[in-house]
């Protein structure tokens, strides 16, 4: 099965970055169609398309939009471009290759939900994306696609870019709102959900870059055409960021439901004389799949959920037989410990303990009982906190350890990796 480029068809063209090039390739036509539609009809079309949030949680986009209260308060649209889930790099490509596609998707979405102000919250390290978006927004204002009375429709919309400053937690929607308000990026308890009480206490819709861009083809050809791609419950196409032990790592746009082994082939296949050992299918928060599971998996929400994992952000990390799973988990526990916002005790303390225990194992100070302690700590971190970071830190442990237990036991007994050639690599604070 080849790629299905609903969103990325023109990404290889440099001209597509600018307004003229975007228009020359069919850009900003859907916005005109949308303005002739009833906003409610656009929401219904998105709902019928089955589009689910492409940032990680996979919540149906149209349903999220329908939670907005009809109370006359100003509404905000917030684009989540804080792409921080390890091994995810699709939003960066989308912003850098096709900034106007995102702007067009956002204006259509804003028109549908009757929002007159939007922000694109970009992670601070993406300085190039920020510059490109600012330039594109300026072009869009000059051409009348943003500002007052857009294309004579009577609809006003202002858009701005906000750069974060280095915090994974700001990818969580309420954490992002806190950050945009000029606070620490700490999440808030839900409910109330942002759609009811978000930015500055006003109704706010937070959608991922890829989600908002996907609104363009949905409104262009309709929900039915979009649903021709994918499976019944996972409609449309998805960008997968494939990294790790493949020959051609990169972003691939394919219909949801593609067998994982085909996606690996698309990314150039495994390296010569290496074999598949494991796959992290949806960013490091997604439980790891072993070889048998990976060979059976299809890349859709339901199959990965059935396997006890998740599609997440679409970050697919391929791991071959030269990798030590203890070392891999060490990198992951280090990450979550670094990124816990410190608000909830199970997460703040738990992520530290997970990292300490795995650290002691790789330093050769591990004891066999540590394996069970590790799982016990992880188990106590699930479902007990304000946001999902704690679960995201626990799930890798609760999948790596049972699925590759013999590697952990070997490391503890022998003080070195079961995988030949793996050296101890220090992680720094």
């Amino acid at each position: 099965m080849p790629e299905s480029k609903l969103l990325t068809e023109h990404y290889h063209k440099d001209e597509y970055r600018g307004l003229q090039g975007y228009k020359a390739n069919g850009g900003y036509q859907v916005i005109e169609k949308a303005f002739k539609m009833d906003p409610q009809k656009i929401i219904e079309e998105v709902l019928n398309s089955g589009l689910r949030g492409r940032g990680g949680a996979g919540f149906p986009t149209g349903r999220k939009w329908s939670f907005l209260p009809d109370n006359g308060e100003p509404r905000y649209l917030l684009c989540n471009a804080d792409e921080g889930e390890p091994c995810t790099f699709k939003d960066r490509m989308m912003m850098e290759r096709a900034p106007h596609q995102l702007i067009e998707g956002m204006v259509i979405s804003a028109f549908a939900i009757k929002s007159h102000k939007s922000y694109i919250y970009v992670r601070g390290e993406y300085t190039e994306s920020v510059e490109i978006l600012r330039e594109a927004i300026k072009e869009a204002y000059d051409a009348g696609y943003l500002g007052k009375n857009i294309l004579g429709s009577g609809f006003d919309h202002d858009m701005d870019v906000y750069a974060g400053a280095g915090a994974y937690i700001c990818g969580e929607e309420t954490g992002m709102i806190s950050s945009l308000e000029g606070k620490k990026g700490q999440p808030k308890l839900k409910p109330p959900f942002p759609a009811v009480k978000g930015y500055l206490g006003k109704p706010t819709i937070v959608n991922n870059v890829e989600t908002l861009a996907a609104v363009v083809p949905i409104i262009k050809d309709g929900a039915d055409a979009y649903k021709k791609f994918g499976t019944e419950k996972s409609t449309g196409t998805k960008l997968f960021s494939v990294s790790g032990d493949v020959q051609k790592p990169g972003n691939y746009e394919v219909p949801l439901g593609m067998p994982l082994r085909e996606l690996i082939e698309l990314a150039g296949g495994m390296k010569p004389s290496r074999t598949l050992k494991a796959v992290i299918p949806g960013g490091t928060s997604a439980p790891v799949l072993n070889k048998e599971e990976a060979e059976k998996a299809t890349m859709d929400y339901e199959c990965l959920a059935e396997m006890g994992s998740m599609l997440g952000s679409g970050a697919v990390t391929i791991i071959d037989d030269t990798r030590c799973m203890v070392d891999m988990l060490h990198v992951i526990t280090h990450f979550y410990h670094h990124e816990s916002c410190g608000q909830c005790t199970p997460c703040r303390e738990g992520t530290g303990w997970l990292n300490k225990i795995v650290n002691s194992i790789v330093e050769g100070r591990g004891r066999l009982q540590d394996i069970d302690t590790l799982c016990k700590v992880a188990d106590h971190m699930k479902g007990k906190t304000i946001c999902a970071l704690s679960d995201a830190a626990a799930l890798p442990v609760l999948s790596f350890v049972p699925k590759f237990r013999s590697e952990f036991e070997f490391y503890i007994r022998e003080g070195r990796s079961k995988v030949k050639g793996t050296r101890y690599a220090e992680m720094h604070a």
């Binding site: 601070g124 974060g164 308000e181 000029g182 494939v242």
Partner: protein, 158 residues
């Protein structure tokens, strides 16, 4: 003693007016200080921002200390941030980081005696298809590296 340039002060004031809530200007203001002060934020800048923005110092400090991209100490002329998260670690960045530190006789996070470099591990920067990668200060990413390319890259810096 650090002081924002007149243009910097104007920038901060314009950011205060830009957003619905003036606290939203704290992050852009801290970035501006960092840009004017060799990529780090000295303590006296917090008091200055507090006066310009009419926001309590404690409120600014809260933001300053939460986000990793604000440097609390000098980071040399070139803050070399090497990603050591999953895809980059698999591609050998931990070894690259160690090599760089050994070659320059510093530990991770220390500034070299000539003030030129500070090598720092960072978490995933979203460049996993082009690993190994590193970012110098807040500039464009350097991707598809290896140890030789990295050393050359550093030598070629002005």
């Amino acid at each position: 003693m650090f002081k924002l340039s007149p243009e910097g002060v104007e920038f901060v004031k314009s950011e205060v007016a830009r957003y619905e809530s003036k606290e939203s200007a704290i992050i852009p203001a801290l970035y501006r200080v960092q840009k004017e002060n060799d990529n780090w934020v000295p303590n006296e800048a917090i008091s200055e921002l507090s006066q310009i923005m009419d926001i309590p110092e404690a409120r600014i400090n809260e933001v300053f200390h939460f986000y990793t991209m604000f440097n609390k100490e000098p980071v040399g002329k070139y803050h070399v941030q090497v990603c050591t998260n999953v895809a980059c670690a698999m591609a050998g960045t931990r070894e690259i980081l160690k090599d760089l530190c050994d070659e320059h006789g510093v530990k991770v996070g220390e500034v070299t005696s000539d003030g030129r470099y500070c090598f720092q591990n960072v978490e995933c920067l979203g460049s996993c298809g082009t690993a190994p990668m590193l970012q110098i200060n807040q500039d464009k990413y350097n991707e598809n590296l290896d140890i030789e390319k990295t050393k050359q890259l550093l030598k070629d810096l002005p």
